[in-house]
Amino acid sequence: MIAAKGVHKWFGTLHVLKGVDLTVEKGDVLVIVGPSGSGKSTLLRCLNLLVIPDEGDILIDGVKVNDPKVRPEWVRQQVGMVFQSFNLFTHLTALENVVIGLRKVKRMPRADAERIALRELERVGLADKAEAYPAQLSGGQQQRVAIARALALNPKAVLFDEPTSALDPESIREVLGVMMKLADEGMTMVVVTHEMGFAKTVADEVLFMADGQILERGTPGELFAHPRTDRARAFVSQVLG
């Protein structure tokens, strides 16, 4: 469904992605792990064209989308994103945060947009917080609203960039719970995370990234139990140990 083919990215002279290939099938959960600075966020941002690859292709359903003929706004509707620091719109209530995409991007009438937004908030267990502003919500609640905001546009897939790294243990459980439910419902997901428990339970495939390259890929069982490269071994023992 989503694929990256030979993706390179430079920031100035810094070669951040050095020919990355990946494929996520419909309904699959792909987890990306790797040390800080290895290019995980950059890769994720390439998938919804927040970052435009310098070389290589991004494909959605086999169609090349990093192409001047394709509007990046359209691509971002197809592929939702959830950020480490939630990034809810500060001036809008939880409900309005979800409504705004439906209204502005999907051009839906207000009544329809609010109905769908409420449904999405219910899905993440926050219907009762619809009128709260982000500053009035806990980190876990904000992240769940952010997930609802991404889901409301009915994307083909959702990208998660370390969605629980800024959260306390209680909130981590809340958010992982929502993500596991999503995975169960068959949502296609690409998740950068260091939550090995989550990766082991729901990932169909795990990629280990280092220095802008994918060094290893496999099922969570394979990759965590029997890492083949030294770097992956060091990383796994550090994160799991």
Binding site: N48, L50, E73, W74, V75, R76, Q77, G80, M81, F83, S85, N87, L88, F89, T90, H91, I100, G101, K104, V105, Y133, P134, A135, Q136, A146, R149, A150, L153
Partner: protein, 259 residues
């Protein structure tokens, strides 16, 4: 209610002066009130021109200063630096003189009418430079991550500007803008130097008439107390209006810095 409070404070000021000097001639005060009210109306008219015009300029150049386009940024910065480093009265007088010079011998326009009008624009340009800095600070106060989140749901640049950056910038900038508006109201008095018939100009005229006719010089105080009270009422009213707007749009987590 706010306006009433302002009037009350103004009245107290007047009464205090009355007590201090024992010279408040109520008859004279009432006699000059119609003339000063006309001045107040004219000042209000100036305010209604200068504030929106200054805001438009401030908005355009403030936005320009945060632009990725180097030329636009350079141009906007030059504008701000130039107009901020001139006393408004110098700008007003210069603009007046230049307009007069340019229109010398021109039959189609009446220079004596046009020159003061152009001076009004000079004052707006001055305020625009200050407002540009307020707008710039407001824009910079909106974290890049907010725009990125908007991009990630497929909003276009224009939609992000209208729905994310502007509403947040506006809330953060309101107190500073209110301050600047109050400044502009008082700065309109500088337009008296180019013979615009606003509150201060009419007050000054009343005083010179009084002196010429050999009236009681103590009455000069009455004129200036009345002028002060009228400026106070106007500024106070505008400040109350902005305060109401601020309260109306207040959102937890986006509290504007208190000045």
């Amino acid at each position: 209610m706010g306006i009433a409070a302002g009037a009350a404070v103004a009245a107290i000021l007047v009464v205090l002066d009355l007590g201090l000097y024992g010279l408040f001639d109520v008859d004279y005060a009432l006699r000059i009130l119609p003339a000063l009210s006309r001045g107040l109306t004219a000042t209000l008219g100036l305010v209604v021109i200068v504030i929106p015009l200054g805001f438009l300029l401030g908005f355009a150049f403030g936005w320009g200063r945060t632009s990725h386009n180097g030329v636009l940024r350079w141009f906007s910065t030059s504008y701000v630096e130039f107009f901020r480093s001139m006393p408004p009265i110098v700008l007003i007088v210069f603009t007046y003189l230049i307009t007069l010079a340019l229109l010398a011998g021109n039959e189609r326009f009446d220079a004596t009418e046009l020159a003061p009008a152009v001076s009004i624009v000079a004052l707006a340009a001055h305020s625009g430079a200050y407002q540009a800095e307020i707008v710039r600070a407001g824009i910079l106060s909106v974290p890049e991550s907010q725009r990125e989140a908007a991009e990630a749901i497929g909003m276009t640049r224009e939609q992000i500007m209208y729905n994310v950056t502007l509403p947040q910038m506006f809330r953060v900038s309101l107190p500073a803008l209110g301050n600047e508006f109050a400044s502009v109201i008082k700065d309109t008095s500088l337009l008296a130097t180019v013979s615009i018939l606003e509150l201060t100009f009419i007050g000054v005229n009343l005083v010179s008439t009084l002196i010429q006719r050999g009236g009681n010089p103590d009455l000069v105080f009455v004129v200036w107390i009345e002028i002060a009270a009228l400026y106070f009422v106007l500024t106070f009213a505008v400040s109350r209006i902005l305060h109401t707007v601020e309260r109306r749009y207040r959102v937890p987590g986006l509290e504007a810095p208190q000045l």
